[in-house]
Symmetry: C2
Subunit: 299 residues, 2 copies
């Protein structure tokens, strides 16, 4: 009962995210052929070996011209450059989407380079991933029960939007449309700031004189808290720069709350510390219940 | 081939940590009888129902007088008070330990209240735990392959130290002795600061106007990063106050590194951002390898 999504899909920047999407679509027989392009050739060889890709692309313009669907899995700051190349070589009717974690900066770059947001481009962001990267970690179930945010513009073609929506739903995701500014602000809070804090914490500890003993005595809480500090440095560098203002805003807010805790500690204001921790625990416990409900819904 | 640890063990503050130890010792037949004291009576009923405790204690002085080993599982700031009660009622030859995450403040309080560190008291800290709390979550394998730090003083009785060492080893832990100041500084970095940051982050996000949508679009990275914000507020309140200086020191260090990231973002200094993220990823990846090696050693 599956409805075909496309004949040929091209993944530009074939890594964990694009590779997992390709694998999920192939396993469901929703695409006939997946080609992949990556700067690091061994990614493509691993992708072919893992059954994620049918072929590695050497001639990118030719592959763009052949593809019915193009997915950009490249770091945020290079999305607009690849879209310019896509605009030049794509065949009429092809639909293009990306998976970048920041949407405002890409839209702004497109207006600069192409004069406007192309109607065949559907900006997208799957809220799924892993601290792992690379196509060898591709997982056909990565998107099951996960949200995918699309941030279409007014001029985005409605059929293109419907196709990308259908594509993500077909691999198990829940698709939500959202305003670009809201997307970038929410993701700054839930994803970009936590990654920044994890990178900064590990860097801080790694610079302490007792660095070796520190990591030796770190346990489960530390392991979970810092897992995201193993994420892809270039990808996160791009996110920090391209969603700069939203991240700096929520970071300033965080710093204010941190200063409150420091001051409470300095003044031995136990009531203020306890009140903050109780509020945080209540909010985090509510989030856990919400997550559990989501998971039950899919059983 | 197991060597008995004690006839009667008393757990004061019977929750996750003390309960898991009791359960592990009972399952290995290393104690004959475990009694438990807790301010919340239902903890004791749950402990008896779960097979963790033999009996609930109403008359604490009498129970102290009967016990061969006493484990204090109470929050850090109350350890010294209970130790004073123990000093008054214990029988000669009994050995006492605690599991608090901060050691310096407890030693200081004991010097104030008892005039010196009792030679029958072996300060201890198992580096294991969970964001869960309560005796119902007790787990006999909680300490397998985990470190336990003991911070004995010069005057600590060597037989008492040897018994506590043997007790932890018997439930699968690796015991390490450490200087009190080093312990408090290392734990401030690997455990206390991460918990503070997680509580502060969740509290920050929970105060944002789009609070509801924020938690709705949070994914796996956020879940792992904030798991420890579900920890016991009173326990962590006590830790913040009792290890105040070491935590404020490492927090100041962290704030300095955070300011570097902010400045790099503000100045679009991509090289500085990338260098920091690459250093952090390398350190975190090395930590992952270290953890994996530890796990392999036990197979």
């Amino acid at each position: 009962m599956s409805v075909r999504i496309a004949d040929t899909m091209l993944v530009i920047g074939a890594g964990l995210i694009g590779g997992s999407l390709a694998l999920a679509l192939r396993q469901r027989n929703l695409v006939s052929r997946v080609t992949g392009f990556a700067r690091r050739r061994e990614q493509l060889e691993q992708g072919i070996a893992a059954g994620v890709l049918d072929a590695a692309v050497d001639d990118l313009p030719a592959a763009i011209a052949e593809a019915d669907i193009i997915v950009l899995g490249v770091p945020t700051l290079t999305v607009a450059d690849y879209l310019r190349l896509v605009a030049e070589h794509r065949k009429p009717g092809s639909v293009v989407t990306d998976v970048a974690s920041v949407k405002g900066e890409i839209a702004a770059m497109l207006v600069t380079t192409l004069g406007e947001l192309p109607d065949w481009f559907v900006p997208g962001h799957p809220i799924a991933g892993s601290e792992q990267s690379g196509i060898a970690a591709a997982n056909a179930d990565l998107y099951v029960n996960h949200k995918v945010i699309l941030t279409p513009a007014e001029r985005t073609d409605s059929q293109a939007l419907a196709l990308i929506q259908r594509m993500w739903q077909a691999v198990g995701a829940e698709v939500v449309c959202m305003d670009i500014v809201a997307h970038d602000r929410i993701l700054a809070a839930t994803s970009h700031l936590p990654h920044a804090l994890a990178f900064v914490l590990v860097d801080t500890l790694n610079n302490m004189p007792e660095q070796q003993r520190i990591f030796e005595f770190a346990a489960g809480g530390f392991r979970d808290f810092t897992r995201i500090a193993s994420s892809h440095p270039v990808m996160w560098h791009d996110i920090m720069l391209s969603n700069k203002q939203a991240i700096l805003d929520v970071l300033a807010d965080f710093r204010g709350h941190l200063a409150q805790l420091e001051q409470a500690m300095q003044c031995d204001d136990g009531a203020a510390i306890l009140a903050m921790f109780e509020r945080a625990k209540a909010a985090r416990d509510a989030f856990t219940r919400q997550l559990n409900n989501r998971q039950e819904e899919t059983l």
